[in-house]
């Protein structure tokens, strides 16, 4: 199952946990260990992919700038 396939069920389950949140944090961890298989860091795939992708592209672009920089004689 990927995130979004049955989000309603997953979110409904998590909402049920919310009222018990502090005392029920162990309960959420149990659920999180299950979710981990499909969601990294508790986030939807698209969030991880888009944010991670833009960040990585930025780093690669700036590294390329540094590597291709033509040294200037001062």
């Amino acid at each position: 199952m990927s995130y979004g396939e049955r989000p309603g069920q997953l979110r409904a389950f998590l909402r049920q946990c919310t009222p018990y949140c502090r005392t029920g944090s162990i309960m959420l961890y149990v659920s999180a260990s299950h979710i981990n298989m499909v969601i990294m860091f508790g986030l939807p795939d698209i969030t991880v992919a888009s944010v991670g992708g833009v960040f990585l592209l930025s780093v690669i672009g700036l590294l390329l700038w540094g590597l291709r920089f033509q040294k200037v004689k001062v």
Binding site: P7, R11, L14, R15, C17, T18, C21, R22, S25, L28, Y29, S31, A32, I35, N36, F41, G42, L43, P44, I46, T47, S50, V51, V54, F55, S58, V59, L62, L63, W65, G66, F69, Q70, K71, V72, V74
Partner: protein, 526 residues
């Protein structure tokens, strides 16, 4: 009750800043020293100056606050704000620094007036726009200083404002860019190390990163999405907002002028990625702390104050919850003050420089001596502090919006003339004036439409103004006489970032505008 240890920590910080100002004042002998620190900034001082100039009060209070309100759809802010530093260095700095060395520029207006052969019109328009936008931005920074001091010591707003303003004004007036740059090095180090230590504690107190995200999804599933289908952060808005942050901040007068002060243009090789990685790390942590704050509030662990901008207090309240030790609050106060003051001092210096150099020296009294202009510059910095203090004592309701709008106005006003000037040989003076004026006016117009909700705008208002500014530049430039080839060569205009060679000097007859911007005798002697 005021804790004496907190007072001591903040007092040591303030005294340290004043001492740096006194030390820096001994190095200031000319306008070149005061405005561009004698073009002597080393790698780390320059890199941290860029980070510190961009890292305003909004970085600490606003980034977490926005994350608290809207969740992950605001995650683009921690990527594109730091990218503005890289954009500024690469697309403006790499070329402008080399032209500035050959032509002796003090400010970006020197470049604009030289490139567009407009010693009065474009220079005055650009300087006035820069001063007004910087004043608005500065008033917001003073308000942030006041928030921190009020929270820490429980003192009235007016006293908090006066204390904060007095410290920044003293070291900026006496030490110029030397003082601003060196204090920013210290402030930047405090900011980075402080956030790296404190933000993870807030996230851990809320249950850890993964728990925070899971809990956010239970509050509202759209809080963990990268954008939303309807509402504020739609894909269109996210793209326009990201462009605004990256290019708008890069054009900001208090940011772009830093590239003229660096000692060696080769520092531009690795400065972009180092500034990006360091500042992105800080901003991600602050954003995640805002998410953690959302969970803590939802679970009733913390309560935000009943004020209009309550979300701006989320990081402060989160730290109070995570760090019950009162002595650490003083250190936290210094961290926030460091972020705010590093922008405040640069803004004040920019206003003083724009007035003294671009208006007083270049337009009002071209024959004024270097000493006279230096005196006017110091007086202008002081006057800027007084004016913004008055604005900040009783801030207009629109102030918060105006600060955000300020970045949009900078984007709409300066981006096209600067990029057009550096990269497009066909860009002309008339095109630049039309682009700048229409960008400024249309930014005000679309900003008003957005603020008063006259009509829904799918993208950030500044994007519409930039499109108008770009259209004006292209159309008017193509309809008017091309710029002199000699000027285009002197200003290294063309479709390249790194020129093959530095112009040895302005060849032949030196334009009056460049003459006005030439290096002072003291600087030349050094």
């Amino acid at each position: 009750m005021i804790d004496p240890v907190d007072v001591g920590i903040v007092a040591v910080y303030f005294i340290g800043l004043i001492l740096i100002g006194v030390w820096a004042s001994r190095k200031v002998h000319s306008m070149g020293d005061y405005v561009v620190a004698g073009r002597s900034l080393g790698f780390w001082v320059f890199t941290m100056l860029m980070v510190g100039s961009v890292a305003s009060g909004m970085s600490l209070l606003g980034v977490s606050g926005l994350g608290y309100n809207f969740g992950w759809p605001t995650i683009w802010e921690p990527i594109f704000v730091p990218l503005s530093i890289a954009f500024c260095i690469i697309f403006f700095g790499a070329k402008m620094n080399r032209i500035a060395r050959a032509s002796g520029y003090m400010t970006v207006q020197d470049y604009l007036s030289h490139r567009y052969e407009s010693p009065v019109g474009l220079r005055s328009l650009s300087a006035m726009a820069g001063i007004v936008i910087s004043l608005i931005y500065l008033a917001g920074q003073y308000t942030a200083v006041s928030i921190v001091l009020m929270w820490l010591f429980g003192i009235p707003h007016i006293y908090a404002l006066l204390i904060g303003a007095a410290i920044v004004t003293i070291y900026t007036v006496i030490g110029g860019l030397y003082a601003v740059a060196w204090t920013t090095l210290i402030q930047g180090a405090i900011l980075v190390s402080g956030v790296v230590v404190m933000a993870p504690l807030v996230i851990a107190a809320a249950g850890g990163f993964e728990y925070v995200n899971t809990a956010l999804a239970t509050i509202n599933p759209s809080l963990v999405d990268p954008w939303v289908a309807s509402g504020v952060f739609t894909p269109t808005y996210v793209v326009s907002f990201s462009l605004l942050l990256m290019i708008g901040l890069a054009c900001a007068p208090h940011v772009i002028n830093n590239v003229l002060a660096v000692k060696d243009v080769n520092f531009f090789r690795w400065a972009p990625i180092i500034a990006f990685v360091a500042y992105t790390g800080v901003m991600f942590l602050l954003k995640f702390a805002g998410f953690a704050g959302k969970v803590l509030v939802a679970e009733g662990m913390i309560v935000l104050p009943a004020v209009k901008n309550a979300s701006d207090f989320i990081f402060v309240e989160g730290v109070e919850f995570a760090l019950p030790n009162i002595y650490l609050w003083g250190i936290f106060g210094v961290i926030v003050l460091a972020a705010v003051m590093s922008t405040t001092d640069r803004l004040m210096l920019t206003i003083g420089t724009y007035f003294s150099w671009d208006i007083y020296k270049s337009v009002v009294r071209p024959k004024a001596s270097d000493t006279e202009v230096l005196r006017v510059s110091k007086l202008s910095v002081f006057a800027a502090a007084v004016v913004t203090l008055i604005l900040a004592i009783n801030p207009p309701e629109m102030l918060v919006w105006l600060i955000w709008a300020g970045i949009g106005i900078m984007f709409a006003t300066f981006a096209v003339p600067l990029l057009g000037g550096l990269y497009w040989r066909r860009a002309t003076r008339e095109g630049a004036i039309a682009s700048m004026a229409l960008g400024l006016i249309s930014a005000g117009l679309f900003g008003g439409i957005s603020y008063f909700k006259i009509a829904p705008l799918p993208a950030h208002f500044s994007l519409y103004a930039v499109i108008i500014s770009l259209t004006a530049m292209v159309l008017v430039s193509l309809l008017t006489k091309p710029t002199d080839e000699r000027v285009l060569d002197e200003t290294m205009t063309g479709w390249f970032i790194q020129p093959r060679s530095t112009p040895t000097m302005l060849s032949g007859e030196i334009p009056a505008v460049a003459e006005a911007a030439r290096i002072s005798p003291a600087e030349k002697a050094r």
